[in-house]
């Protein structure tokens, strides 16, 4: 269908991936500021074997003795868990400690990092990677699918299609391959970051595949629903951009859900985009989802099927004709006038 047109037009690809790239740059900048840039970690390590020491050393952690001058971190291994205490007044870059411990074989959820003030240290990139992946797919679905379809209707192309034997369902399905191809970009990038930063406890290809397949299907179906009737491309573009930004907020991408009131948390967790962000986060970074992964998958599958059905039912080639509210009365009036 318009796949060639989508792939040949660099501006289309740019508009689809712009928001994903922007938010990824924000998260990477935060990650650099909070975990990478800073003093080289000089850590005192207790109760750890030689392999752990070697891994930390390889990751760039300076291993020092207790009482050594300039030490800014303490790493304690206990019962298979690791506690990292950072000097709050002299904050070191703790990403090398994370990398070293992950290379030494500690599970992601077995590592706790706090500073001497008692603040738990979070990796902002790890915490938001699922949201970034969701945003990448959402912007392809809403900005890269809804807006071009509405523009096609506004320019009369859908009206022309409406005069051919092309079936609406075929047309809608034909929109998907090119978009799925573009969706591979944010998915691949987030998976690459997750692997590079050792967020994953082993690459769960099946889990990732199911999560992103269902998530992409669900959001693209929503994109088609939004494109079903509208004929004002400019208004649609503005609403879709706003919607995408709001979805980032609603998925906890701007403010962590944990600091918001319970009612808002529940409302946020009811959103399909939050299901995708949570499932993506769980499969990419091993974070604990608020529902079991299989439940999130089932919810996404049902929602995708409903949205796809709704899109096929509601989609109109041409929506220039105002809908009649009282056809019978008006018909009588017209006949009376004649």
């Amino acid at each position: 269908m318009s796949g060639k047109d989508v792939l040949r037009n660099p501006l289309t690809g740019f508009s689809m991936l712009f928001m994903f790239a922007t938010i990824l740059v924000i998260y990477v900048s935060m990650w650099l500021s909070f975990t990478v840039l800073g003093l080289t970690p000089s850590a005192v390590v207790t109760s750890a074997g030689a392999p752990v020491m070697d891994a930390l050393d390889s990751a760039g952690v300076a291993l020092v003795d207790v009482g050594a001058e300039g030490r800014n971190a303490e790493i304690t291994v206990h019962d298979g868990r690791v506690y990292v205490l950072l000097d709050a007044s002299n904050q070191p870059a703790w990403n090398p400690i994370w990398i070293g411990l992950r290379d030494a074989g500690f599970a992601a959820d077995a590592i706790t990092v706090v500073d001497s003030d008692g603040d738990v240290k979070l990796d902002p990139l790890r915490a938001n990677l699922g949201v970034a992946a969701m945003l990448g797919i959402a912007s392809i679905a809403f900005i890269g699918t809804t807006v071009p379809l509405v523009a096609m209707r506004e320019r009369g192309l859908l009206r022309l299609f409406g005069t051919t034997p092309l079936r609406r369902s075929t047309f809608l399905l034909a929109q998907l391959p090119a978009r799925v191809l573009v969706a591979v970009v944010p998915i691949t990038l987030t998976v690459t970051i997750a692997v590079w930063q050792r967020y994953l406890d082993g690459l769960d290809v099946l889990g990732l595949g199911v999560t992103f397949l269902l998530g992409t299907a669900m959001l693209l179906s929503f994109g088609l629903v939004f494109a079903a009737r509208s004929r004002n491309a400019e208004a649609t573009q503005q609403s879709m951009v706003m919607l995408t930004i709001m979805l980032v907020f609603a998925s906890g991408g701007l403010l962590p859900a944990s600091i918001l009131p319970a009612v808002i948390q529940i409302a946020m967790n009811c959103l399909p985009t939050t299901w995708l962000a949570t499932a993506a986060s769980a499969t990419l970074t091993g974070s604990e989802p608020f529902f079991p992964l299989t439940v999130l998958w089932a919810l996404m599958a049902v929602t995708a099927a409903c949205a796809a059905g709704m899109a096929a039912r509601l989609f109109e080639w041409d929506q220039s004709e105002p809908r009649r509210r009282q056809p019978t009365i008006r018909r009588e009036k017209v006949q009376a006038q004649l």
Binding site: D5, N9, L160, T164, P165, P322, R331, L338
Partner: protein
């Protein structure tokens, strides 16, 4: 042999209301197989709405439309394989080439014509590798017509196909319409070009204010609506209108003296009698006779400018 007696499109008392505005007020039309039928009318008269209702893009508020025995608003699948539309304007995919665009549309039909054949017919074979965004306005319009032809339709609906085309491109368009007619296809076209309507259309309807104000063959309409003709001739000596009236010439007579000659002009409803009287009047010795009948443009202007409420309900004289 084309059966030109069967009706392929029947529009009966078609009304269309947008909000409080009555756009169509009881249109009646019948198109026969193999004919080229034109819709004329001033802007906003309801031509495009009529076409869009016929092709199923709009639903009638009241009245019926039957195309090849089907309701175009409901039986879309049956209609679209057999009827194609060239819309007034549609922006195609800008980065696709001409060839790819035609092939894309060909993929919608069960038995499409060859892409090369279509491009040859619309004169775009040289531009087949050009991207749509680089086509001129005329080329893009020809591509839209090519797209309409790809499914080898029985009925071809053209909405102002010659708008914005240069004279040579218009000739090419007329050839395409003629080709469709020769293949036995029916053509329904709306146009603002009177010469096109006169030359191409077997029959036409003039729509004014949502009604069919006149319908028939172009010559017949000219005869009916533009009854007067102008007879001009030259007399090789000075004569006056009174002299000519005395010879029995009935009509609005004017004379102009140019040197020794008189140029006379008679506007009459009976040019044949005037010609006979001039010819058989030995005293007159007239020469350079010329008879100019009314044109479709005169008919169109006459009907468009007259009050539509004075016409009958069907608009037919």
């Amino acid at each position: 042999m084309i059966d030109r007696t069967s009706d392929v499109i029947v529009v009966n008392k078609l009304c269309k209301v947008y909000g409080t505005q009555n756009v169509l007020r009881g249109i009646d039309l019948t198109l026969r197989r193999g004919e080229v039928f034109g819709l004329l009318g001033p802007n906003g008269a309801g031509k495009t709405t009529t076409l869009e209702t016929i092709v199923g893009l709009r639903q009638p508020t009241s009245g019926t439309v039957t195309v090849l025995g089907f309701d175009p608003a409901k039986d879309r699948r049956e209609i679209t394989e057999r009827m194609a539309v060239q819309p007034q304007a549609a922006a195609l995919f800008p980065t696709l080439t001409v060839w790819e665009t035609v092939q894309l549309f060909a993929s919608f039909y069960t038995a499409p014509r060859e892409t090369a054949d279509i491009l040859r017919e619309v004169g775009l074979e040289q531009a087949h590798q050009m991207r749509v965004k680089h086509l001129s306005g005329g080329q893009e319009r020809r591509l839209l017509i090519g797209i309409a032809l790809i499914g080898n339709p029985e009925i071809l609906v053209l909405d102002e196909p010659s708008a914005g085309l240069n004279p040579s491109a218009r000739r090419k368009l007329w050839d395409i319409i003629e080709g469709q007619r020769k293949r036995g296809g029916t053509v329904l076209l709306s146009t603002h070009h009177m010469d096109e309507a006169t030359q191409m259309c077997d029959r036409l309807a003039i729509i004014v204010d949502g009604r069919v104000a006149a319908e028939g063959e172009p010559e017949e309409l000219i005869r009916q609506y533009s009854a007067t003709a102008t007879v001009t001739f030259t007399v090789p000596r000075p004569v006056t209108s009174t002299d000519l009236a005395e010879l029995g010439l009935v009509g609005n007579i004017t004379t102009t003296q140019i040197g020794a000659e008189t140029h006379a002009r008679v506007v009459t409803e009976d040019p044949d009698t005037i010609l006979r009287k001039i010819t058989f009047s030995p005293r007159l010795d007239a020469h350079d006779y010329r008879v100019q009948r009314g044109s479709l443009e005169d008919v169109f202007l006459d009907i468009s400018n007259s009050n539509p409420s004075t016409k009958s309900s069907t608009g037919r004289p």
